[in-house]
C-alpha cells in the first residue's frame, strides 16, 4: 500500500516538475508547481513527517505560490511575451542537466547506506517533539532566522516601493 503510493507520488512529482520546466505559459508553470508541492507534501506524510507536510502546504502552496502568481499577473506575462532560448542553448542545458543526473545517480547507487534505525518511532514528526527540539537544541538558529525575516521584509518593502526613475 505505502509502496505503491510512494511510486505513484514519485512519478507524478517528476512528471509535474518536467511540466513546470517545459510549459510555455508562465501561469501554467506556476499551477504545475503548486501540484508538485502537493505531491511532495504527500511524500512527507508517508515519511511520518506530519508537521512538515502541514507547514509545506501552508508555506509553499499558500504563501510562496500566491506571491509568484501575483507577480506573474502584475507583470502580465503569458505565452506570447515568453522569451525563447535559442535551440542550441536549450540542447546544451538539457545535456548538462542530464549528465548531472547520471553522475548523481551513479554515485549514490554505489554508496552503502547505513542500516535503518531498528525501533520505528512514528511520533518523531509531530509538532510536540519537533517544537521541543527546536526550542532547546536549535534556539540560536531559530533566532537568527527571525532576524533574517526582518531583514528580508525591510528589503522587499524598500525594493518594491522605490520609484522607477529615482533608481538609476
Amino acid at each position: 500500500m505505502l509502496q505503491s503510493l510512494f511510486y505513484f507520488l514519485s512519478f507524478t512529482s517528476i512528471f509535474l516538475a518536467c511540466m513546470v520546466v517545459f510549459a510555455k505559459n508562465p501561469v501554467h508553470s506556476v499551477l504545475y508547481l503548486i501540484l508538485t508541492f502537493f505531491t511532495i507534501a504527500g511524500h512527507y506524510l508517508i515519511l511520518n513527517a506530519q508537521f512538515l507536510a502541514l507547514v509545506h502546504v501552508v508555506v509553499y502552496a499558500g504563501a510562496i505560490m500566491v506571491l509568484f502568481l501575483f507577480v506573474i499577473m502584475l507583470l502580465n506575462l503569458n505565452a506570447e511575451t515568453e522569451p525563447r532560448q535559442s535551440m542550441l542553448m536549450k540542447f546544451a542545458g538539457t545535456i548538462a542537466g542530464g549528465c548531472l543526473m547520471l553522475v548523481l545517480i551513479a554515485v549514490f547507487s554505489k554508496a552503502n547506506a547505513l542500516p535503518a534505525a531498528h525501533e520505528v518511532n512514528s511520533q518523531i514528526g509531530l509538532i510536540k517533539n519537533l517544537g521541543k527540539i527546536l526550542y532547546t537544541d536549535y534556539i540560536m538558529p531559530f533566532e537568527v532566522a527571525s532576524i533574517l525575516f526582518l531583514i528580508a521584509m525591510i528589503g522587499a518593502v524598500i525594493l518594491a516601493k522605490r520609484e522607477p526613475k529615482a533608481a538609476i
Binding site: L2, V21, H43, Q85, G93, G97, G98, A145, L148
Partner: protein, 106 residues
Amino acid sequence: MNSIFQTVPIQHYIILSAILFSIGVIGVLTRRNAIIIFMSVEIMLNSVNLLLAAFSTYHNDAAGQIFVFFIMAVAAAEVAVGLAIIVMIYRNIHTIDINELNKLKG
C-alpha cells in the same frame, strides 16, 4: 509499527531527489524568464528537503526535519526579496528576459 523503509529502499528516495534536482538544473539552464528560473530553484530546494526528511525518518532522528524547517524559512525570505527585485527590474527595463540584463557587462 510499519515504516515506509520496510518496503521502499532509501536508494529510491535518493534517485527521486537526484531526478528532481536535475530537472531544476535543466530549468535554470534552458529558460530565459527570470520567474521560471526562480521556480526551478524552488524545485531544487524541495528535492533537497525531501531527501533530508527521508533520512530523518530513516535514522529516526528529528534534526533532519528541523533543517527542512529552516530551509523553508530561508526559501520564503529568498522568494520575497527575489520577486521584489524582479518587479524592480521590470519597472526599469520592461522585460524579465535574463538575456537583457547585461548592463553590468564590460
